[in-house]
Every structure is written in C-alpha cells, then in structure tokens.
C-alpha cells in the first residue's frame, strides 16, 4: 500500500473508532479525509456546485446518524459513496421534475475549458447506467471491484456498463475529440 494510502487508512480507522465512541471531533476528521472526494463526486453526478455542497453535507450528516452501522474494516469508503450516491439519485429525480440546468465553473485556457465543458455535457447526457461507471472508474479512478460494490452489481456487469459507456461518450463527443490539444 502506498504511504499516503496507508496514512489515510490509519486515520480512517482512528476517526471511525472515535465516532463509534461518541467523540464529537470525529466527524470533522472524517470530513477532512473524505470531504473533497465526496464533493467532487456529487458535483460530477449533479452538475452544479450548490447541490453538490448540499449533498456533501447531507452525506456526512448521515454518517453520524448511521454510525451504529459503521465498520472500520475498509468497507467504509464504499458505504460512504453509497450514501452519497443515493442522495444524488434523489436530487437527480427532483431535477428531472424541475428541469434545473447544470452549471459549472472551469478554469484554464479557453480551448481546454471548451473541451472540458463539452466532455462534461456529453457525460451528463449519458444515461445514469453508463455515467456512473465512468465517474467511478475513469474520473474517480476507483477499482472495478469497488465501483461494483457501490453499485451492488458484479464486476463483469460493471465492466460491461463501463465499456458501453465509454463508447457512448466517444460517440457523443464525435469531432470534439479530434481537436484535443
């Protein structure tokens, strides 16, 4: 295990034990460890900052409420992402009803920014069934096993969705990809 990952794993164990013991500082520690990843994930799922911030906060509140279910055995991250995913799916259902447009804040050179917006729009246009494996495996760089665990499907089913999702994204991007800097 790389050193950073080992440190994170030890810190995770320490904070989860503290949370189980009712230590009030534990949530802050867990938020420090996972806040950024959960925010990025929820932003990618929801497409806008305000909803991503709400979903991130709600995810950590649920961690506290469900702390009795916690196990410091390496499955915490899967459990955490599952909570965030359920919240995102609820919000996406609300968006579908209200037709809220996604927003995005990008920085960088104009051509690169245009490409990123194009990629994100193409990704948002994909059915959730394809989008999720791309977010977990290609953007969040999780293993196929971890992504499959979050989605509660088998690894072969995950890979099948991932490969079909990549093709669907490629087809949506079309000519934009040929202008890749």
């Amino acid at each position: 295990m790389p050193n950073d990952a080992l440190q994170d794993s030890l810190a995770e164990k320490r904070w989860l034990t503290a949370l189980a013991e009712g230590d009030p500082s534990a949530l802050g520690g867990i938020y420090e460890l996972y806040g950024e990843r959960i925010f990025r994930y929820t932003f990618r799922m929801l497409g806008n900052r305000t909803d991503a911030e709400d979903a991130t906060a709600e995810t950590f509140l649920r961690v506290v409420r469900r702390s009795a279910e916690l196990r410091a055995d390496g499955a915490f991250r899967t459990w955490l992402f599952r909570i965030a995913r359920n919240l995102c799916i609820d919000k996406l259902r609300q968006h579908k009803l209200m037709e809220l447009p996604p927003d995005a804040q990008y920085s960088g050179a104009e051509e690169r920014t245009t490409l990123r917006v194009t990629v994100h729009q193409a990704l948002n246009d994909l059915p959730l069934e394809y989008r999720e494996p791309l977010i977990y495996c290609d953007l969040e760089e999780m293993s196929a096993k971890e992504a499959a665990d979050i989605l509660k499907i088998s690894v072969p089913a995950l890979k099948s969705r991932l490969y079909r999702g990549r093709r669907a994204l490629r087809d949506k991007l079309g000519s934009a990809m040929e202008r890749t800097p």
Binding site: P24, S25, L27, G28, Y31, E32, G35, E36, F39, R40, F43, R44, R49, A52, E53, D54, T56, A57, F60, L61, V64, A104, Q105, S107, L115, R116, V119, L134, D138, L139, E141, Y163, R166, R167, L169, R170, L173, M177, T180
Partner: protein, 95 residues
C-alpha cells in the same frame, strides 16, 4: 493473431489494461486495418480525456459552506481553517 480477436481487445486497449507487447501488437494491426485503428484510437482518446480531467474545483468557499451546513444542522463540527476575509462578517465602524 487474427483481427476478430483484436476487435475483442479494443476495450482493454482503450483503458490501457493490456501488457505492453500486446498493446504494440494491436498498434501494428491498426496500421493494417483502418477501421480497427479508428475504433482503437477514438476510444482511447475518450478514456484519456476522462483520466486527464482535473474535476470540479473544491474551493475554500465550498469547504466552508459545507462545514456551515453541517454546523447549522447540529453536527458537532467547527471550521478548522480561518474563514477567508471576504467571507467574514464585518461590523459597522462606530464613530
């Protein structure tokens, strides 16, 4: 190796999951078969675009707003970093 097998390996090629020898073998096959080559390279470009995506920016403001939402909902959590000046509440100066 025949092209039918190469076509089955395109997904692994795109995700850079093949050993380097097989990767090179597919590149050579792609040079002979333009349809296969286009499929391989466009798919790999799409995957590379995702892998190189830096993601949404996690700003100090977002970090603080999430903490405030947690605090407002009763979580035992306090901002650990000082708030940036522009997020601090300014009292009017008394004369």
């Amino acid at each position: 190796m025949n092209n039918e097998l190469y076509k089955k390996l395109v997904d692994l090629y795109a995700g850079r999951e093949l050993p380097s020898e097989l990767d090179a073998e597919m590149e050579a096959a792609a040079a002979e078969d333009l349809v296969l080559g286009r499929e391989m390279h466009t798919l790999r470009s799409a995957v590379d675009l995702l892998h190189n995506d830096a993601g949404p920016e996690y700003t100090e403001e977002s970090y603080q707003r999430i903490l405030m939402k947690l605090y407002a909902r009763g979580a035992a959590i306090q901002p650990k970093a000082p708030s940036p000046l522009h997020l601090q509440y300014h009292l009017p100066i008394q004369g």
